[in-house]
């Protein structure tokens, strides 16, 4: 008996001793703990309340975009268009199970897409789904990659079932989310057993949780990136994609007001906001769509304090006081709002900061909806309640014209595109961020190096 035990002990020691080998290969199991800044009220992607980073772990779309923004199969294996891109047919992937155990079929997809897009006509055709739009929509496959078009089965008790690599185990709105691995995931079980997300954690709390090893991942604010990096933490950042902008609630009522809006847009020191307030966590921008997505964003000038703006000061003195609304729960937004107040005052515009109620202008942060420029611009316009951009063709020039028209409406003033970032503990391996910022948590695995 003693002999066999000794052999077993030696054998197991041999298996576990080569540390370098163990750290380089994936390990199943473990719980990944994430400290998030968000405070989502719901997980439903159609409500856009939760970050797509998390919702995509549970819910999938028919199509996904690759690094260049091109549609790739996900729950749909192929698609084709008819009638000049007005009618599309998507063939569904077979053998995909929802989290409630049911098989994904065309009726589930049809119900889900109808709920997300009331303007579409969606039909089930065997193992395919037919989508017909009012106008020709060549970007429909890319649009189906939007988070709001995730395929969801909504139970009568309110439970949501998706097809993603993780399924919801516990959900306490605004506070806590537990995801467990979907063993029957059509693309293979994820390495992690569980993901626990704690919401509403501030910068200091995130650092403390990381330092005390009570969280492996912290979702950093853009303004915390520099500090975290200087502390020697492992930081993964995305491309600048979250738009910080000023949005006016209505069109300019007079030429004076339009001039004032134009002057303010020109005189707001977005470079200072990015460099100081956000600690370089983004890129100043005068465009709605990030330059790295559109390729022409640099054309829109973001220079500040021009002579013309100063000369417009006299004409703006006749304006009444504007109210600027911002999110009171975000201290960084408050500083940005106060900076804008200072800049506006320099050119004679009186701003009053408010945190609730109707306002003349509001400060908003909007994630990049899509890697497809046209779709991104349309979704931004829709979210900001701006006129829908009109495209004559799919060319870059056409896109530039559409964005220019939006900006010249004096309804929106882009300020900065901010990066997303996470701070990782050393135990986290194979953390990969897609171009659109999505996390690929199904590929992440945990392994603690022994000291």
């Amino acid at each position: 008996m003693k002999r066999y035990s000794l052999i077993l002990l030696v054998f197991s020691s041999v298996l576990s001793s080569p540390h370098g080998y163990a750290a380089s290969r994936p390990h199943y199991g473990g719980t990944l703990r994430i400290a998030s800044r968000e405070v989502p009220q719901t997980l439903d992607p159609s409500a856009q309340a939760v970050s797509p980073n998390l919702s995509h772990q549970v819910f999938e779309t028919l199509v996904k975009l690759d690094e260049r923004g091109r549609p790739q199969p996900l729950l749909a294996t192929s698609w084709e268009s008819e009638a000049g891109s007005q009618r599309w047919r998507f063939l569904l992937r077979g053998g995909v199970n929802l989290h409630d155990g049911s098989l994904l079929d065309a009726s589930t997809v049809t119900a889900s897409l109808r709920a997300a897009n009331p303007g579409w006509k969606v039909f089930a055709m065997g193992e395919a789904v037919m989508i017909q739009t009012e106008f020709a929509n060549p970007e429909l496959p890319s649009e189906l990659a939007l988070s709001r078009n995730s395929i969801i089965r909504r139970a009568k008790d309110g439970r949501l079932s998706g097809t993603g690599p993780f399924m919801i185990a516990q959900w306490i709105p605004s506070k806590h989310l537990t995801l467990k691995a979907n063993d029957g995931y059509w693309n293979g079980r994820p390495f992690l057993d569980t993901i626990e997300v704690e919401f509403g954690k501030g910068d200091r709390e995130q650092k403390m949780l990381l330092d005390l090893a009570k969280a492996e991942v912290a979702e950093l604010a853009p303004e915390s990136i520099r500090g975290a990096r200087s502390e020697g933490r492992t930081i993964i950042t995305s491309q600048p994609q979250e738009l910080l902008a000023l949005v006016f609630s209505a069109d300019a009522g007079s030429d004076d007001e339009a001039h004032a809006r134009s002057a303010m847009a020109e005189f707001i020191d977005s470079s200072a906001i990015n460099n100081v307030v956000f600690q370089g966590g983004g890129e100043p921008s005068a465009a709605l769509v990030p330059n790295w997505v559109s390729g022409y964003g640099f054309i829109f000038s973001s220079s500040t304090g021009t002579l013309r703006s100063r000369q417009q000061r006299l004409s703006t003195q006749r304006l009444s006081t504007w109210t600027l609304a911002y999110d009171a729960s975000d201290p960084t937004e408050r500083v940005v709002a106060e900076r804008i107040l200072l800049n506006a005052r320099d050119i004679g515009i009186n701003l009053q900061l408010i945190t609730s109620g109707s306002s003349t202008v509001r400060l908003v942060r909007i994630p990049l909806p899509s890697l497809t420029p046209q779709l991104a611009l349309s979704e931004l316009a829709r979210t900001l309640q701006l006129p829908r951009p009109k495209y004559v063709s799919g060319s870059v020039t056409d896109l530039y014209s559409a964005e220019s028209a939006l900006l010249q409406s004096h309804r929106v003033v882009p300020l900065v595109h901010l990066r997303n970032a996470v701070a990782l503990r050393p135990e986290v391996h194979n953390w990969h961020v897609l171009t659109d910022g999505d996390w690929q948590l199904c590929d992440v695995w945990l392994w603690a190096e022994r000291p």
Binding site: R226, D269, A272, N275, V276, V277, Q279, G280, V335, V336, A337, E338, R339, L341, L342, L353
Partner: protein, 609 residues
């Protein structure tokens, strides 16, 4: 107004004035004492505020000095020394340090005045801070500091490190600062932030109080605007809606350029004074009420002592005037009032005695006059009687024929004189036995006409003109004519009236021996009738007029002095009265006023019918 009432008013007024004066004096002294105490307490509180202000200033200076030595400040110093400094990493440093040092304001600026980090306005990085210069005072000072929420009043201090980094920080003069003052009971401090250097403007939003919210802060506008304009202390009394009164002293708090940046308001409750004043007024009211009650009682007692004898004297005087010569008053005291009553009684007794003596004297005089007149009247007929009888005696000695002739003549003379005597005696007898009038309806005009008709011949003989409807000579004014020409009907005895008028006409004829005019007028009034008899004779003196109706008085050589007495008796028996007015040389006028006697008139008419 009676003496008693006047006395009561005098007493009440005296009490009221006394109480009012004492109340006013006590209230005024109390108010002055309270104001002095209030001024002292206010001055002490203002001094305490300034001490606290200075102490906090030193505290702020020490903190700013400490901040200037912190590692963060050193790092900023290093960054500022670089050619192209990057201050972005210091964004939150001022906030962190201010929180640690319990400072409301904290800013770091470089030698160009560029804000590196700001606690009160983090977004202000890159902007210029005017205080970051070598001219800034080293001692703490008051300044209006801008924040995103608006301007605020602060106690600031500035320190510099190697003239590369300026640390500007301080505390806000707010409710917390005010709460640190130890206020005596009944006092409170308020602070008005005069942030825009407002002159004559007031905004209740800028008023900082330590206690409850003011119901109507607008009431403080006056004193605040006064300090804004003059920059010197001012005070006012305010009556709040809650009923409390306060004295509010306002003192300016000035900045570096002597601009009024804040106003310290020290309010001292006047509740204690109000309560005391109310007590004084209540006591005064009570005293006045008691005094008035006492005055009523006292005045009643005094009036009873003084006015009752006086009133009795007045009553006695009235009775005496009414003819009660027996009136006497009771002597109640031995004082002046008693002497007055005694004198009154003595006076009435003397008057009564004098009257009796006068009556007796008049009676004696009347008897003497009667005797004189009787002797005079009887002497005239007796002398012819004596001569006639002596003549008869002598004639009997001269012969029978002469005797017979003398006898016949003497007998006639004797009978004539005897008749005279009878007439005289009858006249006296008639006067003594004046008959009572028998009232019957009488037309006054008719009586006058008959009297005139009786003496028509005498009047003509005496060349006297009779006027019935006008009177050129008349003093007093003539009676108005009986223009209505209606008969003046009264109840009277026509014979007695006729007799009275005849006497007056005879007197008038006697008064006008050289002729003249006799005017007779009748006039009817409401309840009476008047007869006016005027002559143009020689007239009478005032003394003669006074004695004219005395029996046996006459101004004529051969009068009996009973004519006018009879006239007065007749008029008096009719219930009327007669008066005379005359002046020497201007004639005489008699006016008889007779009552209509309507009661007797109706009775007489029935009898007459």
């Amino acid at each position: 107004m009676s003496f008693r009432r006047r006395l009561l008013l005098l007493f009440s007024f005296t009490v009221f004035v006394s109480v009012a004066v004492v109340t006013w004096i006590v209230s005024d002294m109390t108010r002055h004492a309270f104001d002095r105490a209030n001024d002292q307490r206010t001055a002490a509180l203002v001094a305490q505020f300034h001490r606290e202000f200075a102490r906090r200033g030193e505290e702020v200076s020490a903190k700013i000095q400490a901040v200037a030595s912190t590692p963060q400040a050193m790092r900023m110093l290093v960054a500022a020394s670089r050619p192209a400094p990057d201050y972005s990493t210091f964004l939150d440093d001022a906030q962190v340090i201010a929180e640690a040092q319990h400072l409301d304001f904290l800013e770091f600026a470089d030698d160009r005045g560029v804000i590196i980090s700001s606690a009160q306005w983090p977004a202000k990085f890159g902007y210029k801070e005017p205080l970051a210069s070598s001219n800034t005072p080293s001692y703490p000072f008051l300044k209006v500091e801008e924040t995103p929420g608006g301007a605020a009043l602060g106690l600031l201090a500035v320190r510099t490190t190697d003239r590369k980094i300026f640390v500007i920080g301080g505390i806000r003069l707010d409710k917390t600062f005010l709460s640190s003052l130890e206020l005596p009971s009944g006092m409170r401090a308020m602070l008005y932030e005069n942030l825009d250097g407002g002159m004559g403007t007031f905004s209740s939003d800028r008023l900082i109080t330590t206690g409850d919210h003011l119901e109507n802060p607008q009431q403080l506008a006056g004193v605040i605007q006064s300090v804004q304009r003059t920059a010197i202390d001012s005070a006012t009394a305010i009556h709040w809606n809650s009923g409390d009164d306060e004295t509010v002293n306002a003192s300016p708090l000035t900045g570096e350029n002597h601009q009024v940046l804040g106003i310290l308001l020290v309010a001292s409750s006047r509740r204690a004074y109000s309560d005391l004043r109310t007590q004084i007024r209540s006591a005064a009211l009570l005293s006045a009420s008691a005094g008035l009650l006492l005055a009523v009682i006292l005045s009643s007692w005094v009036a009873a002592r003084i006015t009752r004898p006086v009133e009795e004297l007045a009553r006695g005087a009235h009775e005496l005037a009414a003819g009660n010569w027996q009136t006497q008053v009771i002597v109640r005291s031995n004082d002046e009032i008693g002497e007055l009553a005694e004198s009154f009684n003595r006076m009435t007794r003397d008057l009564l005695n004098q009257r009796e003596r006068l009556v007796q004297a008049e009676r004696v005089a009347a008897w003497r006059e009667l005797a004189r007149r009787l002797a005079h009247e009887l002497k005239n007929p007796l002398f012819p009687l004596q001569l006639t009888v002596e003549n008869l005696l002598r004639a009997r000695e001269q012969g029978k024929a002469q005797f017979d002739e003398t006898f016949r003549e003497s007998a006639g003379t004797l009978l004539s004189e005897i008749q005279n005597l009878k007439t005289i005696i009858a006249r006296f007898s008639d006067f003594s036995k004046m008959p009572q009038p028998h009232f019957q309806p009488v037309e006054l005009e008719q009586v006058v006409e008959e009297a005139l008709k009786l003496h028509q011949a005498q009047l003509a003989k005496a060349k006297i003109e009779v006027r019935r409807d006008s009177s050129p000579v008349s003093v007093p004014p003539p009676l108005p004519l009986n223009e209505s020409q209606r008969p003046i009907l009264i109840a009277a005895d026509p014979d007695l009236l006729h007799r009275a008028l005849s006497n007056l006409i005879v007197n008038a004829i006697d008064a006008m021996p050289e002729g003249g005019a006799l005017t007779l007028r009748t006039h009817q009034e409401t309840d009476s009738a008047r007869i006016q008899v005027s002559d143009t004779g020689q007239g009478l003196s005032t003394a003669e007029c006074g004695r004219l109706f005395t029996p046996y008085y006459t101004s004529k050589p051969h009068g009996t002095g009973l004519g006018l007495a009879i006239v007065q008796s007749i008029v008096s028996d009719h219930g009327g009265r007669i008066s005379v007015s005359s002046q020497p040389g201007q004639g005489t006028t008699f006016i008889i006023e007779l009552p209509a006697n309507r009661d007797k008139l109706s009775t007489a008419q029935r009898t007459h019918v």
